[in-house]
Amino acid sequence: MTAPADGIDLTGLTPGPAQTWGAIRLVPLLRPVPITDLRLHARLHHPDDLSIVHTSPRTAYLSYVPHAFVATWSTDTAPAAAYGTQLCGPADTGAPTGIRLVSRRRMARREDRQRLRFLPLHLAMEGYLTLQFGGPPVAWQEWTRNAVTRGLSPRVEASYTGAAVTGLDDALRVFEIHPDQCGMMLYAADALAAAFVVPHPDDYRALHPTLLQDFYGELLFHYTHLYPAVPDFTTRLDDTRIASVADLRAQLAQVGAEWTAFHAGMAGGLLSAGRRTVTPVHRMGRFTLSRFLPAFDPEAENHIGETITDEVGRTAYLKTFRLSAAQIRRGHLLSQLAATDWNLDATATALRTDRDGLIRRLDRAGLGHLLRPDIVDSSRRHAREPRGRATTAGPPPDRSR
């Protein structure tokens, strides 16, 4: 069902000029012709609710779910603006504020014939978390019994809500939404952090504030702390070639065209990424909801995300999440292990290292609990001892005089 694919098809969307605020650069994506037969509704849940999303029996992961979306699919083109409803549970007064667990059923499921509810980005996050979720298929002796029988459960990854990111709230508040805007690319210190595309401008205007409740990678959080501000890109007109108002107009039009090309270069890591793995989740009418995983190349940007594409593959809806370096390392190791059926020696060869090196990498990446403790300990001991020294345990040298 999964298929490798290359870049995301943003046909019909043109990037507009960026607006900067502090370290955050927001690039609007404009859609001259909106898609009218796919509309979204945001369902705001209480922000303090942790949700358990059951994907199948025995595999549940904890994550913060700010809101769920409802995709409305209609064949008539009646305008229906998105609305948000607030669901608040009864607050327990007197008791200390605990985490109430709200059980939701499958992430993408038909509510009725024309509606599909899914939790934004959770599809993609789920795809990332269930990567090699089953654990080793062959019971090599180095892996713990737990890893062989239970797999990687429980699997937890950290992310930050937009409200925790410095300056993002102000950047979203003062952003001037274009009348035909259907999407947004979010850069922190000029590193692409997230992309968001919806089918219709009304949807975008309704969902613009929800960007603050969404979750973002560690990278965005750190970059906005480390970099105070990014400069505006201003283009300089060539005044030697301007002799009349018509020339001036022609130059302005040319500058506008350059913006689009320039931005395609800036967002190259997402739009022309290497081999992505795309998994269709649900198909409804002419639209397909799918999630994608990157190639886990530690040298490049890696975005997980989910898309709704139409019958020719053009993007109607897109939401991405940029993985942090540690998350990429984990994904990379897991996919390499999977390629060799979790055999340590074969994986070490594939990664051009030795067995000890691979064990140390697994340990540092936070996957050490899958290996037997004695194996991890011995590799740590080898790492501490300088190479070339005899490791035989002799009597200690006599230092007493």
């Binding site: 000029p17 607006q19 001037e176 009348p179 505006d232 283009t235 002799a243």
Partner: protein, 475 residues
């Protein structure tokens, strides 16, 4: 011009711009705390470096909040001034306080009390101002707490029953002064309310539990013009016909704010009435200058940032709308270009990004005598294009400067201590009320740095001279 003079000139122009535009309230892009902090620093800086010029700004049309700050700061630091400076400042302060609204002046007195500034000169200023008030008994009712603070702080001798009503109002069985007697009776009977000023009667009406609609129709004859305009919406909600007013008497910017507060279908329904009122107000503001400006084109900002903030709803947009009608009255041939809006300007609303560059080309193509830009200066579609267009226009297409370009900015930028500029060679002036536009365009020649510091000093000295001589006549 020496470098020191140029710096001084820029500093003073920066301060005047800020003092006209800044109100210390929350703006679209910065909070109230940032605005106040930035403004307080700017006041300190100019007061420390150019005390004479700082005092001279009292003769300009800076806004009331900043005037109050200037007066307080001058009195606070009187120790650092020479005798001659003190004499000038005293006359300027006295003349300026007479032109301020009374609640602002009482605010200054409260601030002086909070800062514990109480010397002979301060007491004399308070005494003279209170003595010049037309009706102390009315002040004792409407500004009761403030007057009592000022009286206690400055040791004021108060006439007759005014002192009694401030400090021991329950003792007399009845007052001889009618308004004081009405105020005493209003505590016990509802009918006496309607002889009091609206702000005082409102609180007492709430105590008596009087129905809002009944109260409004009863108090309608006592409303001031500002209160009447402010209560238009409430009057419609409660169906009180007595509060209705002739909009043509309202000041221009207030009227524009009111028009923008109405929903757009209602604006379309009352188009003739609102447009007529706005045009009449603009003609009144233009006075003798009407029709003397030649061919004028304006580029007006209706981007989303013109929505202002919760405390200044649509203020930048209202200034732009009012300027539109004012320029229409001032010019012989006028064109107003909005960024997004086409058609009747009465229906503008803040939406979209700020693409000034392309609209500036549209405006300059008409080759007007004067180009006026009303915008908050955040040009972001694409960023910096307006500056480029103006630069190319100045260097290549209009080297003899046939078109004079002025940028009016209604928003104070807390980070740069100034209103945000569009381009280097273009004069940027702060604006708060559209009625002052004609005077502000006069200031614009100092904002570009083309006029020298001596000229600026002379200009300010002339203004001070005229202000002090006209002051007693105006009061």
């Amino acid at each position: 011009m020496s470098r020191a003079d140029r710096v001084a000139c820029e500093d003073v122009v920066m301060f005047v711009n800020a003092a006209i535009a800044a109100t210390g309230q929350r703006e679209f892009r910065s909070g109230a705390a940032a605005q106040r902090l930035s403004l307080a620093f700017l006041h300190e800086y100019v007061l420390g470096n150019y005390r004479d010029l700082y005092a001279a700004t009292l003769a300009l049309d800076v806004n009331h909040g900043n005037t109050a700050m200037v007066v307080t700061n001058l009195l606070r630091t009187a120790r650092e001034a020479s005798d001659q400076q003190r004499a000038t400042e005293g006359r300027l302060i006295a003349a300026r306080l007479r032109t301020l609204p009374p609640q602002r002046v009482y605010g200054v007195f409260r601030e002086l009390r909070r800062l514990r500034i109480n010397n002979r000169r301060t007491r004399a200023i308070v005494r003279d101002w209170v003595a010049a008030r037309p009706d102390p008994a009315f002040d004792a009712v409407k500004y009761r707490r403030s007057l009592s603070f000022a009286a206690r702080h400055a040791h004021l001798p108060l006439p007759g029953e005014v002192g009694t009503v401030l400090f021991d109002w329950r003792r007399p069985k009845r007052y001889q002064t009618p308004i004081l007697e009405a105020w005493r009776r209003a505590h016990y009977e509802q009918r006496a309310l309607y002889d009091l000023p609206y702000t005082v009667a409102e609180g007492l009406a709430a105590q008596h539990g009087i129905d809002r609609a009944r109260f409004l129709s009863g108090i309608a004859p006592r409303l001031t013009d500002g209160e009447r305009l402010r209560l238009q919406g409430a009057a419609v909600r409660h169906r009180v016909a007595a509060v209705a007013m002739d909009l043509a008497t309202a000041p221009l910017t207030r009227l524009a704010t009111y028009a923008l507060s109405l929903p757009r279908p209602e604006r379309a329904r009352r188009r003739d009435e609102l447009t007529g009122a706005l045009r009449a107000a603009a003609r009144r503001a233009a006075r003798r200058q009407a029709g003397t400006w030649g061919r004028v084109v304006a580029v007006l900002d209706d981007s989303y940032s013109a929505a202002g903030s919760g405390v200044k709803r649509c203020r930048p947009l209202a200034v732009a709308l009012a300027t539109h009608y004012l320029l229409e009255a001032l010019a012989t041939d006028y064109t107003g270009l909005w960024l997004h809006h086409r058609g009747d300007p009465l229906l503008v609303h803040p939406i979209g990004a700020t693409g000034l560059g392309v609209r500036l080309v549209d405006a300059l193509e008409r080759r007007p005598d004067r180009l006026v830009i009303v915008s908050d200066g955040w040009d972001n579609d694409p960023p910096g294009q307006a500056a480029e267009v103006l630069r190319v226009w100045r260097t290549r297409l209009d080297p003899h400067q046939v078109t004079s370009v002025v940028h009016l900015n209604p928003v104070y930028d807390a980070d740069t201590f100034d209103v945000r500029r569009l381009a280097a060679g273009v004069a940027t002036v702060g604006v708060r009320d559209a009625e002052d536009v004609a005077a502000l365009v006069e200031l614009a020649r100092f904002a570009t740095g083309s006029a020298g510091f001596d000229e600026l000093r002379r200009h300010l000295a002339d203004r001070v001279e005229g202000f002090l001589n006209a002051g007693p006549a105006a009061s």
